[in-house]
């Protein structure tokens, strides 16, 4: 979010959400945290959001933090 545009785009929001979850569980260490983020996204995100984040991870490889990226990577495997 920047000062001029108060509303995040959906893509930005999904990336923000994934990274935010990752930041909050990062203290568990990379592997456990990635598993935790994966589990969280599976449990609480609707399928379309999951597909979008997988697509976003591919489009904008630097947007996701390493933990988030790892988690999304694992989701991608199951996402057809």
């Amino acid at each position: 979010m920047n000062d001029e545009n108060a509303v995040m785009s959906t893509a930005d929001r999904l990336i923000y959400m994934a990274n935010q979850i990752a930041r909050n569980v990062a203290v568990m260490g990379q592997d456990e945290a990635a598993a935790m983020v994966e589990d969280h996204i599976r449990s609480f995100w609707d399928p379309m959001m999951r597909r979008q984040i997988v697509a976003l991870a591919a489009e904008r490889p630097d947007a996701l933090s390493p933990i988030a990226a790892a988690a999304v990577g694992r989701i991608a495997v199951h996402c057809r």
């Binding site: 979010m1 935010q20 930041r23 909050n24």
Partner: protein, 948 residues
């Protein structure tokens, strides 16, 4: 149902000692708990002793002297209200001598009382009148020319009740109710002797006194001195129906006292286990919105939000709703529609809405307003304890020794429980308040927090971890409890984490702004002060780390062994009347009723068999994601029951954009709320007075809501949902909400024992209520945590991205005020506006001075998200650098300011932290004026006749 007053035993029950004594009252042998008054003992055995100053919700006082009795072997005539029973005592309550004395006293009373019984509003409902008859008073020999307290002016300042001092008998019941029950101490007796007078504050009128208008005094008054204006206007009631309040999560039960079809007054029900006969200004008085002229009673539709509304028949509205949703699903796919359940509606109604979405629309796109309040509670407590709910009942607080309140303001937000807590504090329990604001509990008459930790908004996790640091490093934890009840390895991991020097109070002091020594003292007190209970509210959950804070709280309770018995626990103070229930009923997009994940095949199978459809195994969209999807173009239809997301959800621009992008928004509500400005179909809702059902309060207590009058709009809300369901082709055929509850019980193990017959018999039930707990569960996790071992979760402090800077140097936090509820849709339509006619911005004198702001000035409040304007209130309640406001008035639109940052785990919005700037302004902002115009246009209605 005929009208009878609740039995008044005169004095409260004795404090249980386990011992009992046997005595003789009027020849009958009775056994009573030790410490019971003779008056109460007599009343319990069916023998009524005259009384005026005694009533059983305040301590005995012994002033009226009507209740004198004879006790064999004792000189004189002891007052039965102040004399406890004793073994072998022989009491006579009705002798000629006693009659003579009582008549003598009554003659004195009546010698200073008007003789206008026939025209008095309390005629027939007056204890003085009743007792005068009971003692056989036939004449008053003192004359009419003596000194008198009659002829004093009436005080009609309070919008709900009148004070007529001429009728006062100075029994002090009002004063004592204000002190003992409500804990406000707004009343006193002024002067002494014959000149003694009841005085609000310093002989002022009620409205300008310290009175908070809870009405306890009115309820306590035995005469017409304090009388509801409605009683004056309508007359005394002729029947009563017990029902449950539709305001906050305390869940007060009331006797709705009716005269014919008119509601005369709401009298808190003494048997009510949540409120124990008390209430607040909202529940007791602010129900006028139910008959307010703004209420919409006819269904309306329109094809575009720029058009005026067109009133239509119910048939047309329902058919149109069904056809629109079917059309959208056909055009955009099954997942293009969803619904929002209401935390103000009944369990049964909520259950039906989510059933409509899951069964009828075939997806899981259902969410509820708990998303924006206590979703982190659900997540955090489920993760740590295994149940998404508070651990205690409200009575538990009376056994607490240390009460820790964090991010809650019970005296404003949960006033009846706040009064309960104050009672316990006055008994000597210690209080710790963790809150950026100096809330009333920090210091108010007879209450003073042992520690107030005025932390900077957004630093809850750091604060709670610092407390844990002290408890762990000073070895104040309860090792035996942890070893027995929790996973020790997880505890060790957690202990190692919180013990890091960087987590200490000293290390986080620059961050939290809380002095390390205060934090240490508070931690020691909580850990070592006896039964420690934590109560928290939205100040915990509405943060980007809301879930972490909930888990940090749970960690603290487990570490100190403060879970699993009375007097302790982790207690979320739920905002709305049925927010607990709406969550229980499966309102979240990822779970069915009873908090079971939609991906669980066994659970889903159960529902599929019952409902005869295949259900979606994937979680649905949360509210903000629905709005996102709408802006993206994939989400097109939303059914909203009893919520006003435009006003209550964060970042109004975002909500408005999402709603505007949809093709069909259905709003089912009492009023044309703000969200309805973006709606295409309006289905008029019914009030809690007009339907049967149940609400579940913050203590998991399921209570009956009973219909006291026919729905003005024609249908109860559950019937409307059923009509829509039938129109979309579902075979629903409920004839009464009890059948819906039967279905809930069948499908939900924690509700297995909940049926209307059981609720009628028990009065209420706290879930889990099933075979294992046939009478419900007041205290949870007694023999072990629901999830097995209690789970310590490492909660790292991740600061919010919402940061102050040169452009936005202040932190805005938001909250509630006593006289208003939520977005004010109900309370703004009552006389409660007398106390809080507008939202104000609280600002510290230093910050105000820097900006040249004086008390009452219009100020512009700007954040990255938007700008609004309101008037300033200069106060030291807020710390420098922090500003505060409420969001009860749509004109203010505080949520124009709030951002769409949210809790990492649940997306609960970060209402409590917004970086803002405040500057003098001339009046409402451009946006506010534009919105007002939009609202006006959007609320145009073409009546049914004209439309045809």
């Amino acid at each position: 149902m005929t009208f009878t007053r609740e039995t008044d035993h005169g004095t409260p029950p004795a404090i249980a000692t386990g011992k009992s004594v046997t005595l003789t009252i009027d020849g009958a042998q009775v056994t009573m708990p030790e410490g019971t008054s003779i008056m109460r003992a007599a009343s319990l055995t069916g023998c009524s002793i005259p009384k005026l100053c005694a009533t059983d919700n305040v301590e005995s006082f012994g002033s009226c002297r009507l209740c004198l009795v004879e006790v064999e072997g004792r000189a004189g005539y002891p007052a039965s209200c102040t004399t406890p029973v004793a073994d072998g005592m022989i009491v006579r309550t009705q002798t000629e001598r006693l009659k003579q004395l009582r008549r003598g006293v009554m003659e004195l009373y009546i010698s200073d009382h008007p003789l206008d019984c026939l025209t008095c509003p309390a005629n027939g409902d007056c204890e003085l009148q009743e007792q005068a008859g009971a003692v056989g008073l036939r004449e008053v020999r003192y004359g009419y020319d003596g000194a008198t307290n009659m002829g004093q002016a009436k005080d009609q300042s309070n919008p709900y009740f009148d004070f007529d001092p001429s009728k006062c008998i100075v029994c002090s019941r009002c004063v004592r109710a204000c002190d003992e029950v409500q804990g406000t101490f707004a009343l006193t007796i002024e002067g002494r002797g014959f000149d003694s007078k009841v005085s609000p504050s310093q002989g002022q009128d009620f409205l300008s006194s310290e009175c908070v208008s809870c009405g306890a005094c009115v309820q306590a008054c035995p005469t017409a001195t304090l009388t509801e204006k409605k009683v004056v206007e309508i007359g005394t009631p002729d029947r009563a129906v017990v029902t449950t309040c539709a305001y906050c999560g305390v869940g007060c039960t009331f006797r709705a006292e009716m005269r014919g079809e008119e509601l005369v007054r709401m009298v808190p029900w003494k048997e009510g286990k949540a409120n124990r006969g008390h209430s607040c200004v909202k529940g007791r008085f602010a129900w006028g919105y139910a008959q307010h002229q703004d209420r919409i009673l006819k269904p309306m539709i329109r094809s575009s939000v720029t058009e005026p509304w067109r009133e239509v028949s119910w048939d047309e509205a329902i058919a149109y709703t069904a056809s629109e949703f079917r059309r959208i699903q056909a055009q955009y796919g099954a997942r293009s529609v969803g619904g929002i359940t209401s935390s103000r509606c009944t369990n049964e109604e909520t259950f039906l809405v989510q059933k409509l979405i899951r069964q009828g629309f075939g997806n899981n796109n259902v969410d509820t307003c708990a998303r924006v309040c206590h979703s982190p509670t659900g997540y955090g407590l489920k993760t740590t304890f295994g149940t998404s709910a508070g651990t205690q009942d409200f009575d538990s607080v009376m056994k607490s020794d240390v009460i820790l309140v964090i991010g809650a303001n019970p005296t404003d937000g949960h006033p009846v429980f706040g009064s309960r807590m104050k009672q316990r504090l006055r008994q000597g329990a210690k209080l710790i308040v963790i809150d950026p604001r100096r809330i009333d509990l920090v210091k108010s008459p007879h209450i003073e927090a042992a520690h107030h930790l005025p932390l900077r908004p957004g630093t809850n996790v750091a604060m709670m971890t610092a407390l844990a640091h002290v408890i762990v490093t000073e070895k104040l934890y309860d090792e035996a409890f942890i070893r027995e009840r929790c996973d020790w390895d997880e505890f060790e991991d957690w202990a190692a984490f919180v013990s890091q020097p960087s987590r200490s109070p000293e290390a986080v002091e620059p961050l939290t702004g809380v002095k390390a020594q205060d934090a240490r003292a508070a931690a020691r007190l909580y850990a070592t002060g006896g039964n420690g209970a934590i109560y928290y509210g939205l100040g915990v959950t509405e943060h980007s780390q809301g879930s972490s804070t909930v888990m940090a709280i749970a960690n603290l309770a487990m570490a100190t062994g403060n879970v699993g018995r009375e007097g302790v626990g982790v207690n979320p103070l739920r905002g709305q009347n049925n927010v607990q229930g709406s969550c229980d009923m499966g309102s979240f997009p990822h779970e069915f009723s009873g908090y079971r994940h939609v991906s669980d095949d066994a659970v889903r199978g159960l529902f599929e068999r019952k409902w005869g459809v295949t259900l979606d195994a994937e979680p649905g969209l949360r509210i903000p994601n629905m709005l996102d999807a709408a802006t993206e173009g994939s989400f097109k239809g939303l059914f909203i029951q009893g919520e006003d997301i435009l006003q209550s959800d964060p970042n109004t621009h975002h909500v408005a954009a999402g709603l505007a992008a949809m093709e069909c928004v259905v709003v089912q509500d009492l009023f044309l709320n703000e969200t309805a400005n973006y709606a295409h179909i309006f289905l008029p809702g019914s009030t809690f007075l007009e339907k049967d059902g149940t609400f579940t309060n913050a203590e998991r207590r399921i209570q009956m809501v009973r219909k006291v009058m026919a729905p003005l709009n024609g249908y109860a809300d559950w019937e409307i949902v059923q009509l829509v369901a039938q129109a979309v082709g579902l075979d629903w055929s409920y004839t009464h909400p009890s059948e819906i509850m039967d279905e809930i019980a069948e499908l939900t193990p924690t509700f297995a024992g909940v049926h209307y017959a059981r609720l009628e018999a028990e009065g209420s039930l706290q879930w889990p209520a099933n075979e294992a707990a046939p009478h419900g569960t007041p205290t949870m996790h007694i023999d072990g945590f629901v999830r097995g071992k209690g789970k310590f979760v490492v909660t790292d402090y991740v600061p919010t991205d919402e940061k102050t800077g040169p452009r936005f140097p202040l932190l805005l936090t938001t909250g509630r005020i006593l006289s208003h509820y939520n977005v004010g849709a109900q309370t703004r339509r009552t006389a409660n506006t007398a106390w809080h006619p507008e939202d104000r911005l609280e600002i510290h004198p230093a910050d105000a001075e820097n900006r040249g702001i004086k008390d009452g000035d219009w100020v512009a409040l700007r954040s990255r998200a938007g700008e609004t304007a309101l008037r300033a209130l200069i106060t030291e309640r807020v710390a420098p650098g922090v500003v505060y406001t409420t969001f009860h008035h749509p004109d203010t639109q505080a949520n124009v300011i709030t951002t769409d940052y949210s809790d990492w785990a649940t997306n609960c919005p970060e209402y409590k932290v917004t970086a803002v700037q405040v500057a003098l302004s001339n009046g409402p902002s451009h946006w506010q004026e534009g919105y007002a115009e939009h609202s006006r246009l959007s609320r145009r209605i073409v009546p049914l006749e004209a439309a045809e």
